[in-house]
Every structure is written in structure tokens, then in C-alpha cells.
Symmetry: C2
Amino acid sequence: MMESAQVVKALAALAQPTRLATYRLLVACGPEGMMAGQIAEKLNASAATMSFHFKTLSHAGLIERRQEGRFIYYTANFAVMNGLVAYLTENCCGGNFELCNEKNVNHFNQEN
Amino acid sequence: MMESAQVVKALAALAQPTRLATYRLLVACGPEGMMAGQIAEKLNASAATMSFHFKTLSHAGLIERRQEGRFIYYTANFAVMNGLVAYLTENCCGGNFELCNEKNVNHFNQEN
DNA sequence: GCATTGTTTTAATAATTATTTAATAATGGA
DNA sequence: TCCATTATTAAATAATTATTAAAACAATGC
């Protein structure tokens, strides 16, 4: 289980429009990822600005980099996102099936 | 589907230790929620500070309030959290089953 | 060597954020 | 009606944080 400080850092990293768009783009790209320059182009941001945002996302563990020739590819780190979601939804309704399934609405409980 | 600005607001609201703890506490409480004063006590924060944080979380749509006598109960809004997670994980691996299921590791694709 | 690609640093600016104290509001019981 | 309880709001302060551009720096491969 992730710890609070790590989750706060990840949430703060995603709480910015360009970084949120970057992350979603990388999620959609899958394991292959996308080149830094191409991401900058897609999001209409300068390379320097993107570098700053990449650093923030990397520091939070949300993305990873991979060098191929002279290009740098970024990919989403799916494990960290899964950990983040698990942390947020942990122990939903105290694990009480009755409450969590109330009115045919499931909340976050995996058992439903 | 939620829009980017709304998601950014929700993520920013959660990206603070006391508010993150508040939200998780309310998720665990389920539909009944918890009284404002009890939350403040549990988290060792003053009523005024908590009121500020409640407002931030409410404004982001993450929690809701309910008055009972002279007490105010707060509850987690599960729908907004589900929307937030859906937004973050949308179109994982471009919806490509092969990629998303690579190496027996599922990412976010619901179809897996 | 040189063009390309990307990162880091610097610096200036701008905006936000959190906290406390004190005042205000609303409720319900005596 | 008066008072204790509960919670929000306002004001002031302090601290933090984020953002971007420009320029220097580094690495790659032809």
C-alpha cells in the first residue's frame, strides 16, 4: 500500500491541466509510450515547459522514461496509478457489503 | 464523462494530507458519513481548519453535507470518484486488448 | 564538426494555500 | 428567552508553490 505523502505527491502532479493531459495521453499510448517532442507538439507546449512537467510527473512515479537512439520516450506507470486508486478507495463502506451495495449502487468494493 | 477542469479541481482538493485523510475517512464511513466535529477530532485539526477543508472538498464535488439536528454530517460522493478514476484511465492502451494485456499484466482496461 | 533533440538552470513573476483568532450563525434544551 | 453547543465565515498573516521563458548544457548520430 502506498503511503499518504506519496499519494499526495501523485495527486498534486496530476492536478494541473497540461500534466493531466500528458498522463492521459501516455495511458492511451500503452507500453510503447510517446516521444517527448511529439507530446509537446500534441499539447502545444514548449519543450522546456514539458521538461518541467515531465520531471514533476516522474518525481511522483507516474511516468517513466526510456531512451531510444536520440529520442526519449515517456510511458505511464500503471502500477502507481493502480496503487493510487486503491489508496483512495480502500476500505469503502468499512468493507460492509450491505452498505456498499445499498440501493443497487456499488461504490468501490471489489467484492460486489 | 467529466471534463478536465473538474478533474483538476478534484485532484487538487485531494492533494493535501488533511483533506486526503478526510476523504478516505468518509469513504470508509459509507453512506452514513461522519459529523464534522468527530472528523476534526479524529484528524487532530481545529474546527475552523476543517471547515476550510470541507469547503474545498465540497466545491470539488467530492463530499456532500447533510444536517441532522444541530450536527452536520459529511459523506463521500462516490459517483464523482468513479468519474475521476474513469477519466484518468480512459482509453487505456488505445483500447487495444493485445497491448493492455501484455505480459499478463492488465492495466485499466475493463474488458480484461 | 554540426544539426537535431532534449534537459537543466536561472530568474522573475504570479498565484495559491494553509493556519489561527475572533466574530457570526443556527440549533435545541432548560 | 437565554445559553451552551456546533459549525461556518472573515480577516490577517505567513509560507509555499507553481509557472514560464530564455539561455546554457548535454548527448546522439550523420
